[in-house]
């Protein structure tokens, strides 16, 4: 039961990263990729109807984590107190930047909201990467199972670590590059003409960055944390996850060259899912390793709720997630198709672009 929920929570988080990842990526890129107001509107319209629904996946995943692994939720969230609060602030700033852009207009205000949106998106992408880096590297969990990480200590990924050290910063940069690439691929799908070509150009440049970062990160991770190998040695079938990531990564390049933007975006999704599942697979059965003592790690067994509760949860969760997937698919289908710059910015269309809860 614990392992099943471990997989389900990982799946929800991967869903969140794939979905909210592209609108974060658009947020990261839009200051540079759009050359004028109509272009920027198209970019915002490409994520407008969906970004808030994408963010719901984070909330739903958080809630699921809470009831399935209460100890992980409690220790993880309190240990990452400071960066988590900053993530919350950034989510607020990002949300109001998109929402209020359509209410308070004019060139100066728009510029302010756009900058807020971009800065919050960039920082969020980096923070998510840093958070993942912290989980992989392990945190200073003490004998009673608590930890509190300062923002940084001596930037070394051993012993009394901080949130930021050279390793987690690298993961943050990888996340930023990967989500920017994901966003560029999404824009290529949703736009046409010059904007689409520009998005493809950015995707192509970012791809080399992501390739280099991924290679470097993989080598560093396995050298620094050889225990990550163990999962793959014990369960060799797990190799499918890194293979998925690699296939996705090269798929992006391949399909972009063939001008198949949809397939390139799908490959980008595969890359992100492959990377995340590789990480979770190599951590299993730990959910939060300890950097002080491997035996003080939080594992599935010592952080999960009772099997009875997990069984009850499974019953409603399955119903709920089928409904949620239904809504998500319906929303994406309603707003399918490419957007063009010249298209009349009718009141309704414009509002659709900036709709948010």
């Amino acid at each position: 039961m614990g392992t099943l929920w471990f997989c389900l929570v990982a799946l929800m988080l991967a869903g969140y990263v794939v979905l909210d990842g592209f609108d974060l990526g658009v947020g990261v890129l839009h200051l540079w990729l759009a050359r004028n107001e109509p272009e920027r509107r198209v970019m915002l319209r490409s994520i407008g109807p969906v970004w808030d629904g994408n963010e719901v996946w984070l909330i739903a995943a958080g809630g699921t984590l809470y009831f399935a692994f209460p100890a992980l939720y409690a220790e993880g969230f309190s240990g990452f107190y400071l960066p988590l609060m900053m993530v919350l602030w950034l989510l607020v700033i990002r949300g109001i930047s998109v929402e209020f852009r359509s209410h308070i207009g004019g060139p100066i205000w728009s510029r302010l909201w756009d900058t807020g949106f971009a800065v919050a998106s960039i920082l969020l992408a980096i923070f998510y990467g840093v958070a993942l880096g912290n989980v992989v590297r392990g945190v200073p969990l003490n004998g009673s199972g608590h930890f509190f990480e300062p923002l940084w200590t001596d930037f070394q990924p051993v012993g009394h670590t901080g949130i930021l050290d050279w390793y987690t910063v690298i993961v943050g940069v990888v996340a930023l590059a990967a989500l920017a690439l994901h966003g560029a691929n999404w824009l290529a799908v949703k736009t046409e003409g010059e904007l689409c070509n520009r998005a493809l150009k950015w995707a192509s440049a970012l791809w080399w960055g992501v390739l280099a970062c991924t290679a470097a990160l993989t080598i560093i991770s396995f050298q620094m944390l050889p225990q990550l190998f163990l999962s793959f040695r014990d369960r060799p079938w797990g190799i499918v996850f890194p293979v998925l990531a690699l296939t996705g990564l090269f798929g992006i390049k391949w399909f972009n060259r063939l001008k198949l933007e949809g397939m390139a975006f799908a490959s980008s999704c595969a890359y992100l899912i492959g990377m995340l599942t590789s990480v979770t697979f190599s951590l299993y059965p730990n959910v939060l390793p300890s950097s002080l003592n491997p035996f003080q790690a939080l594992t599935i067994a010592n952080s999960k709720a009772s099997d009875h509760g997990l069984k009850i949860g499974l019953a409603w969760w399955l119903v709920g997630i089928v409904l949620a997937c239904g809504y998500t698919i319906h929303t994406y289908r309603s707003f399918a198709g490419k957007l063009s710059v010249g298209e009349a910015d009718g009141d309704e269309r414009e509002h659709l672009a900036t709709a948010s809860p």
Partner: protein, 440 residues
């Protein structure tokens, strides 16, 4: 400087109080917009659709702020209350996760359709999306109240060997009798916020002599629905909620009524200030024996006072609890009077010309927000010193390694950020009101 625990409490209290300004309005408006859309569908008159569209815009702004201030609430359980989350996450995590899975996805999909898809959906489709918005936001409210109700009156759990609480019965958790009454009481409160807001803006239009056609609609709908909600607020929901408190939380009842000594013919305090060190009520104005009757339906029944309760189990802010409760009840009573009077004038066809009554309706706008806030303060301060009533003390629930300074830092961050949000909210709503419903 207070210790980390006190700052953790302030942190949660501030963020949740600010957050709840918005859901009470959106849950109330969701019902009213559904009413407007239903009338529009049945009569086929465009003005009802325009009225609905106007309120949908205010709903949209409030909803956005409810969402961005709501996300920090869910995360705070883990960040600031880790010991509590670790112990109780297996139970209350269920209802919180259900809110995300069942309610948020529903709301986020239908809100977009509802706000901007009117042309594409057609009248019936659009009416249906307003129904789904109503269902989604009220379901969300239910799951949150169910979570709180479990902390007020824990049911359907078992205690594991490691001391954590594990879910035993899903239906007990979901159909907690405490939660059912608390939900009904909370929702009638939210409906009153929506009604007073609608009626106040209608009254503003009528008094200013602009958008009068819509001013009439807003005042009429606000007062009609509001008077029903105000009465239901008192009876049966308030009455039964009070009896839940008297049955399961005697310490809370005694403290909120300012009853220091166990008495037969216990009086109901209308005014007065609790003097905790001397254990008495200063300058009291009381109705003799009324508390006994309200609690046990017998004028001479004995009501437990604080003297029968160990000092350790007293709520730790008795004065604040007493004032919150009396403000809630006092305002609730005034609302009934105001709305009955307005409804009577409406029935006689005089309301739209009674400028004094319109002034009262307009000036009433802030008070339902205050009453709802005071009600929640009564519930949450009344639960003290327990985090889970009778099972886990608040002092045992916060995160052990986070210093008071760190929590101060984030509290100040939220204060600043929310001040900006509050100003933006008022500005945007003001603009919608000035813009008016005619063009919608």
């Amino acid at each position: 400087m207070p210790d980390a625990l006190s700052v953790d409490r302030l942190h949660f209290a501030f963020t949740v109080t600010f957050h709840y300004i918005f859901p009470q309005l959106t849950m109330g408006l969701a019902l009213l917009i559904f009413v407007l859309k239903t009338i529009a569908l049945r009569t086929g008159e465009e003005r009802w659709n325009r009225a609905a569209r106007f309120w949908a815009r205010i709903f949209g702004i409030s909803f956005a702020l409810g969402v961005v201030t709501g996300i920090p609430m869910e995360f705070q359980f883990g960040t600031n209350w880790s010991q509590f989350s670790k112990a109780a996450g297996g139970v209350i995590g269920q209802t919180l996760a259900m809110e995300g899975v069942f309610s948020f996805f529903l709301e986020s999909s239908f809100l977009g359709l509802f706000l901007f898809g009117e042309k594409r959906l057609g009248p019936r489709g659009h009416w249906f999306s307003s129904l789904m918005m109503f269902v989604g936001s009220w379901l969300s409210g239910y799951l949150i109240v169910a979570t709180d109700a479990w902390m007020q009156h824990p049911v359907g759990y078992a205690i594991a060997p490691n001391g954590s609480f594990q879910l035993q019965s899903f239906w007990h958790l979901l159909l907690n009798p405490w939660g059912l009454w608390q939900y009904a009481h909370t929702m009638t409160g939210a409906v009153q916020t929506g009604c007073f807001t609608m009626a106040a803006i209608g009254a503003y239009y009528l008094l200013s002599g602009v958008h009068e056609e819509y001013g009439n609609i807003f005042v009429r709908v606000g007062v009609t629905v509001g008077v029903l909600a105000a009465i239901l607020q008192l009876f049966p929901t308030g009455d039964f909620q009070g009896r839940m408190v008297s049955r399961y939380q005697q310490s809370t009842l005694a403290a909120m009524e300012g009853l220091f000594h166990t008495e037969r013919d216990a009086p109901l305090a209308i005014l007065g200030q609790p003097d905790v060190p001397n254990q008495r009520l200063d300058n009291p104005l009381v109705v003799p024996a009324a508390l006994s009757f309200l609690t046990y339906r017998a004028w001479s029944a004995q009501v437990t006072g604080l003297d029968q309760i160990p000092r350790d189990d007293w709520p730790d802010h008795i004065e604040l609890l007493y004032f919150s409760y009396h403000i809630m009840v006092g305002l609730g009573t005034i609302f009934i009077a105001v709305l009955l009077l307005a409804a009577w004038l409406l029935y006689r066809g005089k309301l739209y010309r009674s400028r004094w009554m319109l002034w009262i309706l307009m000036a009433s706008l802030p008070f339902p927000f205050i009453a709802n806030t005071a009600g929640w303060m009564t519930a949450e301060i009344g639960r003290q010193p327990w985090l889970i009533f009778g099972l886990m003390r608040t002092s045992a629930g916060n995160s052990p390694l986070i210093s008071a300074g760190s929590v101060w830092f984030t509290l100040l961050g939220f204060l600043g950020l929310y001040a900006v949000l509050g100003i933006l909210f008022l500005f945007l709503v003001y603009r919608e009101i000035e813009h008016g419903p005619s063009a919608a």
